[in-house]
């Protein structure tokens, strides 16, 4: 068990005095991020829904990036990966990241192809 905790987050920009304090700090940060997500989801600013980056709406990119940020702090501070040995941490984190990126790439590429077949091919589906 890792009894000693690393108490700095944001690459050392924010240091806490105790582990309990760090937990509450991370909670505030996660709540803020969720708040921003929900606010953006309700307002849906036109600038963000009508700009496309790499074929996806800018707003969706923001949602996905914020989600990954949240996932990072849950895993690093709540599941205290920050305090684990780096070899252990890398084994846990990079394995799924690699496999998931691979799977998502294949499936979304294929799905886009099928979408085009439905759209341009001689298949009537809207009746």
């Amino acid at each position: 068990m890792a009894h000693e905790h690393k108490l700095a987050i944001f690459r050392g920009a924010l240091k806490f005095k105790s582990n309990t304090q760090k937990i509450w700090g991370v909670l505030i940060f996660l709540t803020l991020v969720t708040g921003v997500e929900v606010a953006l989801g309700i307002i849906k600013p036109r600038v963000l829904t009508h700009t496309y980056i790499l074929g996806m709406k800018a707003l969706n990119w923001i949602f996905i990036i914020l989600t990954l940020v949240k996932a990072y702090y849950i895993a690093w501070d709540f599941m205290h990966l920050r305090d684990e040995r780096s070899a252990f941490r890398r084994a846990i984190v990079w394995t799924p990241i690699f496999l998931v990126l691979y799977l998502v790439f294949i499936l979304l590429f294929e799905a886009d192809y099928i979408y085009n077949v439905y759209k341009e091919g001689f298949i009537k589906w809207n009746f």
């Binding site: 709540f78 846990i92 799924p96 294929e110």
Partner: protein
């Protein structure tokens, strides 16, 4: 066994007993379980993405589906899911506080924090049950065409959705429900919708302010991203293609649009809800162990840390489900 060198066990790499990764066996196996379980969830979410990309132009808009908050009337997209997310993050915090108190061997603090965690989990599962019930019940109702497309109804003046109950005519009908005691074989038909197709059709034709919303999402121009609304003339033509009245959702069809939408909703949030439920159960077991002083006797609270990992994982998955089901 007898060939094992017993001297200097700590330094012997292959002799067992040492921990190159600095984590105990149980904790490491919990982590490896979490890795494999996260791959299962990723598979589901990737499949959801697959179907969504495939039906990019007709997928239902989540903001129009999840608009309810218990005890409140009106249209509040996302508020309730945001609340559920907060509850789960909050129970994650009490869990990590329990782990922290466990490190300091404070039995009473662990008991209280575990208790709060369990309460949070129960609130979340309850909320999800409510969410499911609302989703299954549906609110406006729709008509399905021959090709399985969903037609929804809108008021042309206000631009608001109209429920079947608001315009369907009442036509005296001799058709009664087919029960299993009257059939040749012991089969009953599934629950029939509240209105027959005829009642909906006639009501629609009699009401000049009604138009049809189709599944198609407008791809460019001023109204990009919104559902296509037909004119009154087109609507009168389109309603003839109706074959079935759809109210609410089940695994075969749903009033919100693409059939796969409800299937994935039930499957992914159901699988996650099952994880939350089992997490609450495991937390309860550990809670009673803490109360009985098992870990006080053992000298450490590592079991609390292990269930804590599982509980945070459930929270972690929800963060992704929330994004891909409700936001994106």
């Amino acid at each position: 066994m007898d060939t094992t060198v017993t001297t200097g066990e700590e330094e012997n790499v292959w002799g067992g007993g040492n921990r190159p990764l600095g984590a105990s066996y149980g904790k490491m196996m919990m982590w490896f379980f979490i890795v494999s379980d996260s791959l299962t969830f990723s598979g589901f979410l990737a499949a959801y993405g697959f179907s969504r990309f495939k039906f990019m132009e007709t997928w239902p808009i989540a903001d129009e589906v999840f608009t309810h908050v218990p005890f409140f009337h009106g249209n509040y997209p996302m508020i309730y899911v945001a609340f559920m997310t907060f509850i789960l993050i909050m129970s994650s915090v009490t869990m990590v506080l329990a782990v922290d108190a466990g490190h300091k061997m404070k039995q009473n603090a662990v008991i209280w924090y575990m208790f709060l965690t369990i309460i949070g989990g129960a609130i979340f599962v309850g909320s999800q049950a409510w969410e499911w019930a609302t989703f299954i019940k549906g609110d406006y109702g729709a008509v399905e065409t021959q090709g399985g497309r969903i037609l929804q109804f809108e008021n042309i003046e206000t631009g608001e959705r109209v429920a079947l109950a608001d315009f369907a005519k009442t036509i005296p009908d001799v058709r009664s429900e087919h029960d299993e005691d009257v059939g040749i074989w012991y089969e009953a038909e599934p629950t029939r919708p509240n209105y027959s197709l005829n009642e909906v059709m006639e009501g629609f034709q009699a009401n000049p302010s009604l138009v049809i919303r189709t599944e198609s999402i407008i791809q460019e121009g001023e109204k990009e991203g919104e559902k296509t609304v037909l004119t009154r003339e087109q609507s009168l033509e389109k309603i003839k293609e109706g074959r079935l009245v759809v109210e609410g959702a089940n695994l075969i069809r749903n009033e919100y649009g693409s059939r796969l939408f409800a299937d994935f909703f039930f499957f992914i949030t159901g699988f996650h809800g099952f994880h939350v439920f089992s997490g609450v159960m495991i937390n309860l077991i550990i809670f009673f162990n803490v109360v009985l002083g098992t870990y006080e006797k053992r000298g450490h609270y590592e079991m609390v840390e292990k269930v804590g990992l599982y509980w945070h994982f459930v929270d972690l998955v929800w963060v992704f489900v929330f994004t891909f089901f409700y936001l994106v």
